[in-house]
Amino acid sequence: MDLPDLGTNPELDTIMQRARKFDIETNLLDLAMYGFTVVPPEKLGSKDLTPRLRDAILRVYERRTQHKIDDWSTYDGKIEAHQSWGWLLEDDVFLEAMHNPVYQTIGQFLTGQSGFLAGASVIFKTQAQEFDLPLHSDSHGVPPPWPSFATYGNLSWLLTDYLSREDGPTVLVPGSQRGRMPRGNESNAHLEENEHIKPIPLEGAAGSLAVWNGSMWHGSVRRTKPGMRITLVTVWQRVFMRPIERVKEISPEQLKKWPDLPRLLGYERIYPYQEEITNPAQVDPTIQAGRDQYA
């Protein structure tokens, strides 16, 4: 009895068939049980994608700040204030990464086939930043008890190694996606001893995709070794969510190369309404998304 081939849940079936094809079923089970997973580089295809993403990020950073970093692997200085969101349309390599089939399958597993890529930011970290990010969830504004499905999904491309705490990694509290935001001192459980909350550092080689349910408690610790941590963070949201980023114009060249971009970026959702409904074809899929968490 091959469940994904029975056609009983068309949207879920597609996701499960792709998960089998890409050998990421155990990653989806990680997400179901622990709320997060790390997909290793060998399951993500193109080996040169990681250096190209890194180079593009440093180019855009330089353009935004006039600050040139010659060697990310040894740079140990200050990171200039920069616009941290709004990266997707800045370079084709970002859009190439967003079209990785493993990446999209996981985004849709978390937020449904109608889920959309709501924004992308970049995190740079060096020893110069003496800052530990408190534990928090990304499900901003969603009161407890949280639903069993994800409202947000964080899909982060690790563009440098996260091999130990010295790398300044994200820390996560496995299983914390079920419930509520951290309260009070719970947010410091990765910095001071806590009897009940035991965050763990995220581990993955450069080129991995780290994914977590947006409700998970996570934070980060400071970097304590030379070189930069570079992470391309992308956030998926369910179709009913207020998007993180404003709509930006997709160039004709980009649209020609990736005709699905308006859908992928959530531009074709039914809201906001104008005087007349502008996307009537999206009404039924949106209603279906309310019937089935994988739709």
Binding site: L3, T8, L12, Q293
Partner: protein, 316 residues
């Protein structure tokens, strides 16, 4: 990153590592997404256990109803048996072995937490002409069983996590509709409610809900979430369909069978010595039901702590 090996979330990790060892992770994912899975015989038990279960069911049903065991279940095609279809655990050692089977137990723990409790055990024998019944009024002489969930008495909205899980040992082949299989609505555990009356007759023309027949070889485990909509269809093939469902549930639920009483009968308590893990599975540790002066279990303090701790997470 091998998350389970970090031993950060002990209950979750233990279940995941067992699943990895048993090579059933794909089945856990199917239970999470579809609410149903079929584990093939090679991942469950030796064929001898399946034969023993089948023989024991036929022997005990014959004894309970003063019948002769049919010469061959493969060809016996007349309705056979009777209403005494429950309470199997202590009838034959093979039932205890099945209840404690590592694959079945790992899945029970994935669905209902590591403190899962065996709720009860019916046995189903179906031939051509066997009527169906769901509830006291819903007899169907054609043999179609209406859609229902097994989470009886729990009002909606039902949680997405399972309160019950049905782990059915298929003791004969379910090759197709002619074998009279269970029918299921994959994904319906996420509806969060029972089917309504107008949704239950899945077999009628233009039925609003479509159900698919369960297929699996004899020796398979068919497993579904306690909130999954399911029913069954009549058998048209020769021979018997023989099925042994084990219902497992969370420890706060009233069990289907009264295990303390059953254990006190005859020499049933001996099985606790031979299979110490059986005490856990029958919730001998649980402080409820208690009497006026306190718990009726000697380990009440430990039991209280454990009972409260079980509510900490869905895998506890």
């Amino acid at each position: 990153m091998h998350i389970a090996a970090l031993e950060n979330v002990p209950d979750t990790d233990a279940t995941r590592l067992e699943a990895e060892k048993l090579d059933i992770e794909q089945h856990l994912l199917e239970l999470h997404t579809y609410g149903v899975t079929i584990v093939p015989p090679e991942k469950v038990a030796e064929p001898e256990l399946i034969e023993q279960l089948r023989s024991a069911i036929l022997r005990v049903i014959a004894e309970r109803h003063d019948l002769e065991v049919p010469d061959d279940w493969r060809t016996h095609s007349e309705p056979w048996g009777g209403p005494k279809a429950w309470c199997w655990l202590f009838e034959d050692e093979s039932f205890i072995q099945a209840a404690l089977n590592p694959t079945a137990n790992c899945i029970a723990k994935f669905m209902c937490g590591r403190n899962v409790v065996l709720q009860g055990t019916p046995a189903i024998i179906k031939t051509t002409g066997t009527p169906s019944r769901t509830g006291t009024k819903a007899r169907n002489d054609e043999g179609f069983m209406r859609l229902h969930t097994d989470t009886h008495g729990v009002p909606s909205p039902l949680p997405e996590w399972a309160q019950l899980v049905n782990i059915s040992w298929l003791l004969t082949d379910y090759n197709g509709p002619e074998d009279g299989p269970t029918v299921l609505v994959p994904g319906s555990h996420r509806y969060g409610r029972m089917p309504r009356d107008y949704e239950r007759e899945w077999w009628v023309e233009d039925a609003p809900v479509q159900a698919v027949p369960l297929t699996g070889k004899a020796g398979s485990l068919a497993i579904w979430h306690g909130s999954l909509w399911h029913g069954s269809r009549p058998r048209s093939a020769d021979g018997m369909r023989i099925t042994l469902p084990f219902i497992y549930g969370r420890s706060y639920l009233q069990t289907i069978h009264d295990w303390p009483t059953a254990l006190a009968q005859g020499d049933n308590a001996k099985w606790l010595e031979k299979y110490p893990e059986l005490g856990d599975l029958l919730a001998c540790w649980h402080p409820y039901p208690t009497d006026r002066d306190g718990s009726n279990t000697p380990q009440s303090r430990e039991g209280n702590t454990r009972m409260i701790g079980v509510g900490d997470n869905v895998y506890a």
